[in-house]
């Protein structure tokens, strides 16, 4: 009875969250691909913090140099954060040939590198770009238009996984595609809680007034976004401004990345807890931040239920061995009992879970549609694996992040590992 009540409350919350996003989509569907026209191009300082990025920095710089943006209005600053590989050597070629500014400094983490870049920048706007990401030619031009609104403090882009090769990258491709849609919805709600490393543009005076990035933060791109909201500025998103990033190709790197993301999120949520359920912060405070926490909470409730059911079946099996010994019986296979069993297994939970599944799948479809991605037969299989299995990994990541935080295991900021 208690378990049922807890689950029904959770179902309602999840249904509410999904409905809220879908209604927001319907409300703004015609504005999804809207890009404000640019009458003049302001000067933009594009800062690329780099730590041991010899494999990707050239590709990143090539994409930046190919940007469809007036060259005299673009200041490219690479901050070499104490790399021990050939990153500096590679960038030096671009310094000579393309006027890129290179700053070499001792290792101090990504936040510190960005602040050093900001301190030497002269642009009216500051764009940040991770050294393992590439920009599409129109991406910067599309973002700049949003700053016509004086209340806009930052604008984010649509991040896609670059050429996903293995299974793990294909799963992240789906996840990033989903995020493109969600980030746009959050943009409409003025509720983006992250200004991601792979291309976000900030109003320079705002970011300087706020004191730059938090150098000791695990997810400085999230912290700055929350600070921008606290200062009363809007964060917009442009779904047509595409950026490509390399996704971790093995579980170990993914684990490291997610542990940092989620530990950083936990710390930032605690630090900015005054924003939660606070009308002053609009949809972000009243809906988006609490809904993120609720979704994490529901993951753990589901995990608890899975553990309980698993324990129950293990307990029964062990008990059975104690009571009657080990016995094997060949199961009888025939379609009719299986169908009857399926029919008799359907209950209220099945319907509510199906509604949630349909809502989430529809959002996934919209994500693909609006980020102009094609759903092939292979993608369908990947999507099913993502929905039914891969998401279980989030429980592992979040669970580990919470345990690590509770045990106060030392965390390392980006660029220091």
């Amino acid at each position: 009875m208690v378990t049922n009540t807890i689950f029904f409350i959770l179902y309602f919350i999840v249904i509410y969250i999904l409905t809220f996003y879908l209604i927001t989509f319907l409300k703004y569907r015609k504005k999804f691909h809207f890009i404000p026209k640019v009458s003049h191009y302001p000067k933009v300082s594009l800062i690329i913090p780099a730590y041991n990025e010899e494999d990707s920095i050239a590709r990143t710089l090539d994409s930046v140099l190919a940007l469809d943006y007036p060259k005299d209005k673009l200041e490219i600053i690479v901050v070499n954060d104490g790399s021990t590989d050939n990153t500096a050597k590679i960038v030096e070629k671009y310094v000579k040939n393309n006027g890129v500014i290179l700053i070499n400094k001792p290792n101090g983490g990504k936040g510190n590198a960005l602040n050093v870049g900001i301190s030497v920048s002269t642009g009216e706007f500051i764009a940040t770009l991770d050294a393992d990401s590439m920009v599409a030619p129109n991406s910067l031009k599309y973002l700049i238009g949003y700053f016509k609104d004086k209340d806009v403090g930052a604008v984010t882009s649509a991040i896609k996984v670059f050429e996903p090769k293995n299974f793990l990258q294909r799963m992240q491709f789906i996840e990033y595609t989903y995020s493109i849609f969600l980030r746009k919805i959050w943009g409409f709600l003025n509720s983006q809680s992250v200004t991601p490393g792979p291309l976000s543009v900030f109003r320079a005076d705002v970011i300087k007034k706020l004191g730059g990035f938090d150098e000791n933060n695990l997810t400085e791109d999230q912290e700055i976004a929350l600070r921008i909201h606290c200062a009363g500025y809007k964060i917009e998103n442009c779904i047509l401004s595409e950026t490509y990033t390399f996704a971790p190709s093995n579980f170990k790197s993914l684990w490291k990345q997610r542990l940092r993301w989620y530990r950083g999120t936990l710390r930032n949520f605690i630090r900015y807890r005054h924003m939660f359920l606070n009308r002053k912060f609009g949809n972000l405070g009243v809906f988006v931040l609490p809904s993120i926490v609720m979704l994490i909470f529901s993951l753990f409730i589901s995990l608890a239920k899975m553990i309980f059911d698993f324990y129950d079946s293990i307990y029964l099996s062990v008990k059975s061995v104690f009571l009657v010994g080990i016995n094997f019986y060949m199961p009888e296979f025939s379609i009719s009992p299986i169908l009857t069993n399926f029919f008799l297994s359907i209950n209220v939970h099945s319907f509510l879970l199906s509604f949630m599944f349909v809502g989430a799948a529809f959002m996934l479809y919209l994500s693909y549609k609006f980020s102009k991605e094609y759903i092939g037969s292979r993608s369908v299989l990947d999507l099913l694996i993502f929905i039914f299995f891969f998401q279980l990994l989030y429980i592992v990541f979040w669970g580990s992040a919470i345990i690590y935080e509770l045990m106060r295991i030392k965390a390392v900021t980006r660029g220091k590992w």
Binding site: Y16, I23, K27, R279, N283, L344, S345, V348, F351, L352
Partner: protein, 235 residues
């Protein structure tokens, strides 16, 4: 600086839509529960009518007073029929268990259904007993008293033990499981008949155990009835 705003009407509209979705989930859930209980009801009625037909046939054929040969033919006929019914009852019991597992034990329609199933079990038991007494069939009868609500761990354990013997012996063992948590005159009758004071209780033919009965004890009881298919050395 922008004043953060939100559309209160959107929150209200979303709440209303969510409530609607939620309620429709419940309505569909109720509808499917109704369909499931109707299906199980029709299954019970179908097996029930089979049993009733057999009972009528049994009295028409009047086994007692016949020649040995006539009696043997009639007994073979009824033994075959009772095995067939027993298979169907096994399927029915499994289906009811699946339904219970997914819908719980509180539904009113389910309680009615379970009570009807208990009535059916009583008749099936009476018929099986009659066949065994008259024809001396090569099967043993066990009556098992258990309870689902409130939970009874020993009943689950006893279920595991009895299930093991059912799997081992198949049609040579008939188990009639009566849920004492169900408000049913048939269950009450059986409890009074065997003076059942607690659950689990197990009745082997006429021998009553008002307690959990272990695997060895069950085996000993079954071996004493000379049931084929059991390793009875040492029992």
């Amino acid at each position: 600086m922008v004043k953060k705003k939100f559309d209160t009407w959107q929150y209200v509209a979303v709440a209303l839509i969510s409530i609607l979705i939620f309620i429709s989930g419940f309505i569909l859930g109720r509808k499917i529960t109704h369909l499931q209980t109707s299906y199980l009801n029709s299954e019970i009625e179908s097996v029930y009518s089979d049993v009733q037909e057999n009972i009528i046939d049994f009295f028409i054929l009047e086994i007692s007073g016949k020649t040995d040969e006539e009696k043997r033919v009639a007994c073979d006929f009824f033994n075959q029929r009772i095995y067939k019914i027993s298979d169907r009852v096994g399927e029915l019991a499994k289906n009811i268990e699946t339904f219970e597992k997914n819908n719980g034990f509180e539904d009113k329609e389910y309680k009615k259904l379970k009570s009807k199933y208990m009535d059916f079990l009583l008749r099936q038991w009476l018929f099986s007993k009659k066949i065994k007494d008259s024809c001396g069939g090569n099967f043993s009868i066990i009556i098992f008293f258990y309870r689902n609500v409130p939970p009874c761990q020993e009943c689950i354990d006893q279920g595991i033990v009895l299930d093991y013997f059912k799997k081992e012996l198949g049609e040579k063992l008939f188990i009639f499981s009566f849920d004492t948590g169900i408000d049913s005159p048939s269950v009450l009758y059986m409890m009074n008949l065997y003076n059942i004071t607690r659950v689990p209780s197990v009745v082997f033919e006429e021998k009553v155990y008002n307690r959990f009965v272990s695997k060895d004890e069950v085996q000993k009881e079954l071996c004493s009835k000379n049931i084929d298919g059991l390793l009875c050395d040492g029992f």
